[in-house]
Amino acid sequence: MALDSKTPKGPIADKWTNYKNKIDLVNPANKRNIDVIVVGTGLAGGSAAATLAELGYNVKAFCFQDSPRRAHSIAAQGGINAAKNYQGDGDSTYRLFYDTVKGGDYRSREANVYRLAEVSANIIDQCVAQGVPFAREYGGLLDNRSFGGVLVSRTFYAAGQTGQQLLLGAYSAMNRQIGRGKIKMYNRHEMLDVVKVDGKARGIITRNLITGEIERHSAHAVVLGTGGYGNVFFLSTNAMGSNVTAGWKAHKRGAYFANPCYTQIHPTCIPVSGDHQSKLTLMSESLRNDGRIWVPKNIKDVEAIRNKTLKPTQIAEGDRDYYLERRYPAFGNLVPRDVASRAAKERCDAGYGVNATGEAVYLDFASAITRYGKEQATIKGLDLNDAALIKKLGQEVVKNKYGNLFQMYEKIVDENPYETPMMIYPAVHYTMGGVWVDYNLMTTVPGLYCIGEANFSDHGANRLGASALMQGLADGYFVLPYTIGDYLSDDIRTGPISTDSKEFEEAEKEVREKIEFFINNEGSHSVDYFHKKLGKIMWNKVGMSRNVKGLTEAIQEIKALRDQFWKEVKVPGSSDELNEELAKAGRVADFLELGELFAKDALNREESCGGHFREDSVELDGEQKGEALRNDKDFAYVAAWEYKGEPSEAVLHKEELEFNDIELKQRSYK
């Protein structure tokens, strides 16, 4: 099948408006006869479900958690971008578009990104109308802050809990529709397959996680808003339940999977403390507005710190290496995430890591505390030379900005970050890759849509901070509700979709057989045993720095591990009860396939771009020496993989990326 992005013709700034003017609509009376399934209730799924119901469709929404409010969007901390230009600092739709394409290292589809930038301002209006309590200035208007990779302040926020507030906004919009009977909500239900009838997505098979019941659900279209697959690494900042199953089942039913190797390793996470670790915790990028990242200049200081004979606060200013400020003077501590992560790894690999494992750098707030303290003392007319007072005043300001993050850090690490610098290290956070979608957000399966982090579309090879929330809500509130109407306008005479067809029967049978296999397999190792092993292979060989040898080995090792899993996995309990091990087994089975395709994609892409860094593709000379080297001639395409059985047999389809409105350039943050 040829990959057609279905991008509308015309100048980029007019595409979305012209498109909306020309698509087919479904009249309100007919919408009542059309059913839509939405899987996942995060920012993308939740906002889509609410808006589709608002428009008049009958929506069935599904989540595996006990309430839609618990979807992992809730954990997003820092903020949401919007080209409002409230600060008058030169922001515009074009600039947000430009920053996002550049930040994504020129590997995203221009038209999608422009549309995202275009609707971004509307998101803020919408959320404020819903009662989302964004941070405000004393004049009562909205406050902004700055995030990595940009030179303006366009990020709206609610302390360090922006994702929570936006998700609760979407949840409240859903609640209104649930109350009106327009959304039927299925909590604690996991989607285990997509059902296709006559080539179109017409339903899903789910398992009720409490009773174990296998259910058939039909609809005229199916929307997946099921999040990212960072947990293929076992350790990530994702929630424990985050998984790839919905997207992977869609892939197996014909949806191409795009750019699986594009992973975001976030620079500021709390370092790993031991083998018992179950997940990693992010410290928001917003901290880089005020925190300065450094390691000691001298190896003897590093050793003294590790031996605990020296405290970081005792190291003189001149003996510190603020390596981001040194290497990237223009952006300093606010370089994009991929750049900051690699720089941390470079210092730690060189032996300058500041904790026992050698994998940590400092994020230091001392200068911000002093700066804010002096500002407050000036405003209040207090003594600028009273160091203790300045510190106290400064700490109060920092507490107002980032209090919950500092508290989180202290609870986990048992150190007070107001007094001593935080220790941080990169960790897997977000996946830019995902199910391939066209401009309509439809996958290669007609009637099957994919939105939010689960699709591949807007962030190219690297996502800028505060853009995930923007994309999730843009897709769900403003894009999908239009594009899906164009498709459903052909379905006004179809009538209800029966679940008694052989397609539903066969899909259900396959799901049941797999469950029975897990329960009856007399294996010797728990699901986590395999998941942790997979995570180690992924982190060591398909992580922040990749090479041909490691990737080739990873492919072999993952395949071997998958074979072992199907022989030796042990799942206790039965299938007709709440059984978390059983749910995990299904998810890890899919990760074991995705992991191999992921490595295969990374091996295929013989260039460095964004979060994908190939050791054999770096700048050799000049000012950019050692920086990632892109290859636009051979790799300016989206790699969309078609399922053919084993991941090794997946077939590559290329969507060539065209850049008409932005010039392809070396991405420099120096």
Binding site: D66, I74, Q126, P133, G274, S278, I412, P572, E577
Partner: protein, 248 residues
Amino acid sequence: MNLTLKIWRQKNANDKGKMVDYKISDVSPDMSFLEMLDVLNEQLINEGDEPVAFDHDCREGICGMCSLYINGEAHGPDRGVTTCQLHMRMFKDGDTIFIEPFRAKAFPVIKDLVVDRGAFDRIQHAGGFISVNTSGNTIDANAIPVEKADADKAFEAATCIGCGACVASCKNSSAMLFVGAKVSQFALLPQGKVEATDRVLNMVKQMDEEGFGNCTNTGACEVECPKGISLENIARMNREYLTASLKG
């Protein structure tokens, strides 16, 4: 550390349930409480036993899914944290730890330590929203200035994670702090005032129908709330309710 765990085991909603003793050794003080339970479960699976079911997801204190009652306190002995943020450094070698589900008539046990908090969702369906069309045709965000003090208080109320610790801690199993937080968030914002009357009446009605108890102002909910939601929100809801009742 070596610990004795006394854990509530209950096969399903109809089972009577009982406390069961487990021994666990080599617990690191850097482990989170749930990581300690992960280790126990791995041990149980390897010994051919059924692992202990408990709710959890984000493991960073924000999703509100985890819900354990540890040594007689919702989310355990530390303050301002959820169970997933509780670390084993709060305990000593040789300790015996009691682990139970959140208990309330409105939160029936599903299995072991997992309870059904659907009642919270149903209260939100009754009025926990502002009725705006979500397709985006609304006024500019800065056309609605909000006094910073009110915006900050609305935010503080809105940080409720819906975990149910307030209900589990209350001797009456009252949900007033949970409902008060949502009513307050909207009552403090100009956008929320339009529907204020219906909202508070409908949410309180649903709360009563779900079988939550009354508030007798002991303040236990505020003490155990991992997000520090203030009792002020209950007072504000009472005022809103009185005003709405007089209008109605």
